[in-house]
């Protein structure tokens, strides 16, 4: 028997048992809120996973950008994702952040929040921050105003009209300005910053959002070596309190982030090709083949 047939058989059997005994649940008779109550809007990481993707697929006009992707991330983990162009890295982030709808599969934030049922602003407010591949800041606004907009606060219309920074928020803003080395440029138009500074500003905006999970799409593209090293330092300091998913092509940067023990995931053709320490995946035959071409 092929694995497909075995799976199908198992599913049929399970469906029959469920039908036969009314009231029985798939989780083995445990009630959904056994020993703890699901809090709406709270991320439940008691199962040790902050992000959980299972069997996610997405195709564009027949091209499978994501193909039965399975991936999960632990709270506080810094996960590096590598893969050739077109491997589906950005599409995966699009699906997690609600920009693109998955064709099938499940995406959970913690064990209670189904991300496929939320739109972009809701997902951002739940605590997932995202940095784009191309630095995207509000060019006409100053560095200060960019950070102030990103600040975690009530983001509905009326509170925005009457908003004023309180002193704790001012401290937070000053701290972030310091972290991203833009304190001297606080009143400059964001559009006038250098490319690397814009990258930093966008990272600073993420920090202001105080997300539980940060998705970073090529965060050091266009940065100098020194800036890259500082960025790696910053991400390593965030690890632990935040979970991070970093997509990057720069192998030195990945080496700095993953070290010898961190997990690196290799994506290719829309699914996970290999996963393990950087040394292990770099030694993997299939990974070499994908990167060097046939």
């Amino acid at each position: 028997m092929t694995p497909d047939l075995m799976d199908a058989g198992a599913e049929r059997l399970q469906a029959r048992t469920l039908r036969a005994t009314p009231g029985r649940t798939e989780s083995g008779d445990r009630s959904a809120s056994y020993s703890r109550i699901a809090q709406t809007g709270e991320v439940d990481v008691t199962h040790g996973r902050i992000l959980y993707l299972e069997d996610v697929s997405k195709s564009f006009d027949g091209f499978k950008a994501i193909n039965s992707l399975n991936l999960d991330i632990a709270p506080g983990e810094l996960r590096c994702i590598i893969g050739p162009n077109g491997a589906g890295k950005t599409t995966m982030m699009d699906i997690i952040t609600g920009k693109t709808r998955a064709d099938s599969g499940t995406v959970y934030f913690g064990s209670t929040i189904d991300l496929l049922r939320h739109n972009e602003p809701e997902i951002a407010q739940l605590g997932i921050g995202r940095k784009f591949q191309k630095p995207t800041v509000f060019e006409e606004l100053t560095v200060f105003e960019n950070l102030e907009l990103a600040l975690k606060t009530d983001k509905r219309v009326r509170p925005s009209m009457f908003f004023a920074l309180d002193s704790a928020q001012q401290d937070r803003l000053a701290e972030v300005l310091h972290t991203i080395h833009l304190a001297p440029h606080v009143n400059r138009r964001a559009g006038d910053l250098s490319h690397g500074q814009k990258q930093w500003l966008e990272i600073g905006m993420l920090l202001m959002q105080d997300p539980k999970l940060l998705l970073l799409d090529e965060p050091v593209a266009g940065m100098t070596d020194e800036e890259t090293a500082r960025t790696a330092e910053l991400f390593l300091s965030l690890k632990g309190q935040h979970s991070l998913m970093v997509v990057e092509h720069d192998m030195h940067f990945i080496r700095a982030l993953a070290g010898d023990t961190g997990t690196v995931t290799v994506l290719a053709e829309g699914s996970v090709l290999a996963q393990g320490t950087l040394d292990a995946v770099q030694a993997d035959e299939r990974v070499i083949e994908v990167y060097l071409g046939r």
Binding site: N85, E120, P121, Q133, E145, L149, V157, Q209, G222
Partner: protein, 404 residues
Amino acid sequence: MTDLTLSSVTLPARAPLLSRTGWAAFFAALLAVCALAPMLNLWVPESSPFHLSGYMITLLGKIMCYAICALAIDLIWGYTGILSLGHGLFFALGGYMMGMYLMRQIGRDGSYQSDLPDFMVFLDWKALPWHWALSDSFVATLILIVALPGLVAFVFGWFAFRSRIQGVYFSIITQALTFAAMLLFFRNETGFGGNNGFTDFKRILGMPLATPEMRMTLFVLTGVALLGFLLLGRWLVRSKFGRVLQAIRDAERRTMFCGYDPLPYKLTIWVISAMMCGVAGALYVPQVGIINPSEMSTGASIEMAVWAAVGGRATLIGPVVGAFLVNGAKSWLTVAAPEFWLYFLGGLFIVVTLFMPRGVVGLVRRIFKKNVPSIAVDKAQAAIKTEVTEQPAEPAHLPQGARA
């Protein structure tokens, strides 16, 4: 207003509503509208060179109504990046609401000496149609002047913004909506006087309209409304709400990933903008003495956008300046050389678009402060930057959007 210092970081203090010079200019303008203009018009004898004629008062009052419209366009276009070519509709709705009240104020003094407005008698209608029910009440009229444009804008905006209709498509739909409304108002059966609209107004609140005093009162009211809306606009764009609008204009997706839902923001400023136009229309009708469907014509709405563009988008004072410049030129040119007016308008639009992307105000600011770069320069810089950071080319088979 304390500056906060933490490890050598100085945060900017919150900007005041208006700067010292801003307030000075504001009160100077208020004084000019409320005291100087009435004095020069009513008390200075006509023989004096300082006399302000009734014609000038009506013209300035009319232009101030236009300036309110330009300001409304600026909030939605300049600050939020949504070009509406349908604000003529909201202007006309406000105008028609006021017009209905003024028609009822005529009473039995019309040509047919009937209780009904003349055009209804002419159409052989025996009773007021249902939608005229509130037109006898001045209070209800005042409410409807803001509520009706607001409601129409809300319903239209909710559907348009929820479907994420953007850019030129949105502009075209607003244009189509306004055109449809014009065709509807042209019909006699709609009950708004058909293509003649409303005219021959006699009085307002029981007082005669055609007196210098009433003309002055309306002028002062319009001026105060314009200055009030300027302050309101300033308060809006200076708040975080205003910065979110600019963020939506510059990078809507980034705004969403920051946790802001653009829909209520767009809808709020869209409705505010429509209400402002409604008020402008209501102030316009008693001063000009007529309202007809031509206010909803394609050209009328486009002209509003031209005023804002000429004055300078995303500057509050710009559209007001633009409205005065363009309409001043219009009333002079249509008398001096009527055949050239349309060429002038077209040429002006081209010159502004090509050489003054931030309008007259942007030009003046650039002359006095060297540090305001023009949009053209920004674009050139952005182009250079994207060239430097260009990503390696995607495989050819990858469809568009897969990695965008």
